[in-house]
């Protein structure tokens, strides 16, 4: 995730202090990984250098955390461009799982067992996410759903691979 663009986007609704920005980020997006103060200030000084934000005021007491930042016109254009640019879909072509399955077959290990164990591990994570979703608010539900759909896609691949193990075994033996 682009922290710079996210902080810029948060500034669009009005100027904020560094600590206020960190709090807003953590509340909305930082469920698993809250920002460090250091990250906020290094990002803000980069945005400042690039003219995307400006210092709107400094509270008495000094120190970087007392600066209040405002987004510039260039900053707004930058956020707009970022939002309008689609993210590149991940292709996952170099899957570690695929490598493990092929290696298991090449070395005459139990590839079906490997796939079963992986499914179980995926389901364990899916249970934790489902539980968090059940207890959480709408933001939690959407974040967990995104992760759950990706894990589900992995699982579908595991099932399909399990069903094709005999063919794959023949192919890797060639």
């Amino acid at each position: 995730m682009s922290i710079g663009h996210t902080l810029l986007g948060l500034l669009e609704s009005g100027p904020r202090h560094g600590y206020d920005l960190k709090r807003a980020f953590d509340e909305k997006f930082g469920h698993d990984r809250p920002l460090h103060y250091g990250q906020v200030y290094s990002t803000m000084s980069r945005l400042l250098k690039n003219g995307l934000v400006e210092v709107d005021g400094i509270e008495a007491g000094g120190g970087p955390e007392r600066k209040r930042y405002a987004i510039t016109e260039a900053g707004i254009t930058d956020v707009e461009r970022w939002l309008a640019t689609p993210e590149r879909p991940e292709l996952y072509l170099q899957s570690t799982l695929y490598t493990k399955v092929v290696l298991a077959l090449l070395t005459h290990r139990d590839a079906a067992d490997l796939l079963d164990t992986q499914r179980s591990e995926h389901l364990r994570t899916m249970r934790a996410l489902t539980d968090r979703k059940r207890k959480g608010d709408l933001a939690d539900q959407l974040i967990c759903d995104h992760a759950l759909f990706h894990l589900e896609a992995d699982l579908r691949w595991l099932e399909l691979t399990a069903a094709r193990l005999d063919k794959l075994r023949e192919a890797v033996a060639r």
Partner: protein, 229 residues
């Protein structure tokens, strides 16, 4: 072999053939009170046959199924039917509600079959319909409600007798993902609140994620993933 301590329903070494096909080839299973166990596996792997054997609907060719200390195969058909009516609840993918009856009559049906007077049966049925958030459908017939609503009515019916085991075979198979999830939430919450065990057959990982653990069935053989790791 003796069943694992504390288990409510156990199966050992189940074999079942349909003609030349071995639907079950030495499968096993166990579940504790209040536990939700998913039976997973590809189509045709034997997972529904396993569920039908556990529920006493299908008799295995060999192997032992023990429910609460009693061996299912040593019971008479009448005893097994009585067990299914009073201690087991069932939820299927579709086609389980009686179209001529209203929703509340459908939910009350298992109680009526057990001899409960109509008024009392419908009062209990309505309280379950409230828990499943479908009490406003009491006077409607199954043909007049949506798939998700019908499935909640079916869950209320499965739970109305206070079963100790609920068998759910692809209970969300005919629903979209939002409705499916709500049905799973309500089913597992309701079962946990009464300490009922749920045997859940599904091929969907998102549905299996509502379980406590999973058993994988492949080519009629089962694998208990929790005990395997």
């Amino acid at each position: 072999m003796t069943p694992p301590p504390g288990s409510l329903l156990t199966a050992e070494n189940l074999y079942k053939a349909y003609g030349p096909t071995n639907a079950l080839d030495g499968a096993g299973f166990s579940i504790h009170p209040g536990e939700v166990v998913a039976i997973m596996g590809p189509s045709g792997s034997g997972k529904s046959t396993l569920l039908h054997c556990l529920a006493g609907i299908v008799t295995p060719d060999s192997g032992t199924i023990t429910y609460d200390g009693r061996v299912l195969s040593s019971m008479s058909d009448t005893e097994r039917s009585a067990l299914r009516r009073s201690e087991f609840g069932f939820v299927f993918q579709f086609g389980q509600l009686v179209p001529e009856l209203t929703c509340v009559e459908n939910v009350a049906l298992p109680l009526r079959l057990n001899g409960t007077p109509r008024k009392e049966a419908e009062r209990t049925a309505l309280s379950w319909m409230q828990r499943l958030e479908v009490d406003d459908l009491r006077g409607k017939r199954p043909g007049e409600v949506s798939g998700g609503q019908g499935q909640r009515v079916a869950i209320a019916r499965a739970l109305v007798t206070g079963p100790r085991v609920v068998f759910a075979d692809e209970p969300t198979g005919a629903l979209d993902s939002l409705n499916g999830e709500r049905v799973m939430e309500l089913l597992t919450e309701a079962a946990r609140s009464t300490n009922a065990a749920v045997v859940l057959v599904t091929h969907e990982a998102r549905v299996a994620a509502y379980s406590d653990r999973e058993i994988v069935v492949r080519d009629g053989k089962s694998r208990d993933m929790e005990r395997a790791v």
